[in-house]
Symmetry: C2
Subunit: 443 residues, 2 copies
Amino acid sequence: MPNPSTPAPNPRPLGSRRIELLTLGDELLLGLTPNSHLTWIGEQLGRRGVQLARNVTVSDEADLIAAEVRAAWARADVVITTGGLGPTCDDRTREAVAAAIGQPLVHDPAIERAIADRFAKLGRRMTPNNLKQADRFERGEVLPNANGTAPGLWVEQDGRVLVMLPGPPNELRPLFTEQVLPRLARLGLIGEHEAYIQLRTAGVGESALETRLQPVFAPHGDALSVAYCAHFWRADVRLSSPSGRLGPAALQAIANECAALLGEDFVNFGHDSLARVVSDLFRAQEKTLAVAESCTSGLFSGQFTDICGASKFFRGSLVCYGNFAKMQVLDVPESLIEQHGAVSDEVAVAMATGVAEAFEADYGVAITGYSGPGGGTTATPAGTIHLGLHSPQGVWSKKMNYAAARAAVQERAVTMALDWLRRELGRAASGVSAPPRRATLIG
Amino acid sequence: MPNPSTPAPNPRPLGSRRIELLTLGDELLLGLTPNSHLTWIGEQLGRRGVQLARNVTVSDEADLIAAEVRAAWARADVVITTGGLGPTCDDRTREAVAAAIGQPLVHDPAIERAIADRFAKLGRRMTPNNLKQADRFERGEVLPNANGTAPGLWVEQDGRVLVMLPGPPNELRPLFTEQVLPRLARLGLIGEHEAYIQLRTAGVGESALETRLQPVFAPHGDALSVAYCAHFWRADVRLSSPSGRLGPAALQAIANECAALLGEDFVNFGHDSLARVVSDLFRAQEKTLAVAESCTSGLFSGQFTDICGASKFFRGSLVCYGNFAKMQVLDVPESLIEQHGAVSDEVAVAMATGVAEAFEADYGVAITGYSGPGGGTTATPAGTIHLGLHSPQGVWSKKMNYAAARAAVQERAVTMALDWLRRELGRAASGVSAPPRRATLIG
């Protein structure tokens, strides 16, 4: 059995590593479940400097699996399979893979004990089906699964690696992060650390960003590789040095220079979302937030759903479709709506203040507009959104006009509002009280 | 050129049709974008009786594409590619595919005119890049793209079909539904109509459902195929007759029998979501809805985001994390929270009535609980959720206890609440006023 603690230094550059992913399951082919393993594993490997070479999805049937594993095994450095290990899966999945790589399966009493223990702890009885989950490859290893019965299986053979992972994401992900990534890194098949430094920015388009950062990048010529990834109102910049001529410290120095140059348009380094950055600012400053949305129908507040501890600062939110709720719950005067319309700077401001007061929050955000495709008027066409921001420093509104598909309009409005909060919280922390650019100061 | 109006009847059963999907793009392999084409196309084909045989994702590079198309073309009845047709894509994508299937490309002046017209209408100038989008296969056809510049390409050759589709979903989906599906059906490669009748049910587990429906299915033996697909608090039943021994009318008669037997637990036939069914009931009865959520943080109201016309009945919603908003905005008495706790039948009922009154809605739904993993108390552990329902017929609460992952707890609570609304609206329409099962009648 190969000893995974011995590093196998490999002189080939990371970019030439070939990793293939085989995802198994009818539910993927029938569209019942999205192929989230491709998205998640692809991202993890990309961060370590290796782009997944290929993903194949087939049914969980022994013959199909054997053919795909054989083909991938013939040309890849690493073959990863997901699914096909559950007790109700095709019994012959493991056998098919074993045949494809030319290794027999052996029953492993230690796995059987771990499965039996798990069942005992859950107060359930082990079924004979679970017994086949106690098989491993003869010259392979076992990757313990803390969240399910089927362990991962690991084989190193002829300079290649085969990894079989259980399908449920809550089992696969910790197993991949804690066991597979470190093992692949030790073998030199992926980077030990992140392959690039990511700067997240907001409020600057991709080409404007490129122009502004060019003076920082130019001196480094082709030693520096720069990739842009634009979203709505956000853009990420990834700095790397595929040739290795710029080390981590040099790359970080360049990234710092970019951040300083971008000022407020720089959001953060790394992978944290804008909502996470805003959450951290709220928690650090011990301030609270409340939100009123109409045309984004809960998408803004939904940004905080998955953020642990959001309830510490997020007082709550209101989605109001009609004018009644605006008037009744948020205390927006009917006369204001009649005079200026529900989609106006004036109403956005009144909503922001109204929601902050209703929830007794320090900050109030309001989004009112027409996401389209229908709605809108000649003066205020679909794609027109007014944002309102109530803060301890004052209250402002901002108008955006974006002729695009409904989901794009909504995403941009939500991102703009989050980014506005981020800037305002940043200014509050640094004691700067100038009103934000492009904003109308009302009262 | 083959004439697509001539049907090519093919005696092989649909199940033996082999359709392969090739999805192109680094963004899929790097996890920047989920592979939604697999999910969506897989579902469309599944509904017509053919399970996608295989999906391969590779980078948009000519050599890789050529190899994959050649392999798929050698064994499949239909090969579908997505992506690789944009003006900034690898120039050689079309050439690579042309080489793989042994047909030259020709420039099509009609496509060029369509592209030029599109640019003129948008007030933009066509770039030389766009010219290559005017190529088609010599003995192939063009599938016009109403939402973008690159048309789809269609080839019938040696009894097989190759389809190349543009990558953006808003271009691909209408093109697939309006042009590709009818063509494949005409050639007998997929079913003319839906391959199964789907019954959607709620409130019954998969095995209980199987037991209840067995007497309806038993007389039909193996002429009838039944597949179950269980979700949280919902289950779908798909009835088909792969042998063809039961025609559409016979299948519908069996489905009707199931629906009658299931009574209120039957939701609908087809693919409409529970939220859509509830929306239709609200609109038909001209009633309105308001929602207050805590532990599901907007997931309930998010069910209506994509439903066109939801603003006609959905007055609005409130997400409240702390007790303050419950008291302030919803008028839940502080003493009630102190005596019974925020997660209790009493508070759920007060929230439901409070939100209905705040938004002046006929129906009010409240969800309060601990989604986990943290939170909860010994008496009220994580996974405990109380639902409240205020309706013109009365006000009730319901308790659910579900020890599972956070997202599962939330999905089940949201589905239970939607389903409760559905049942209550159904009873209101039929004049039945009995309180729902498992409900506590309060005041």
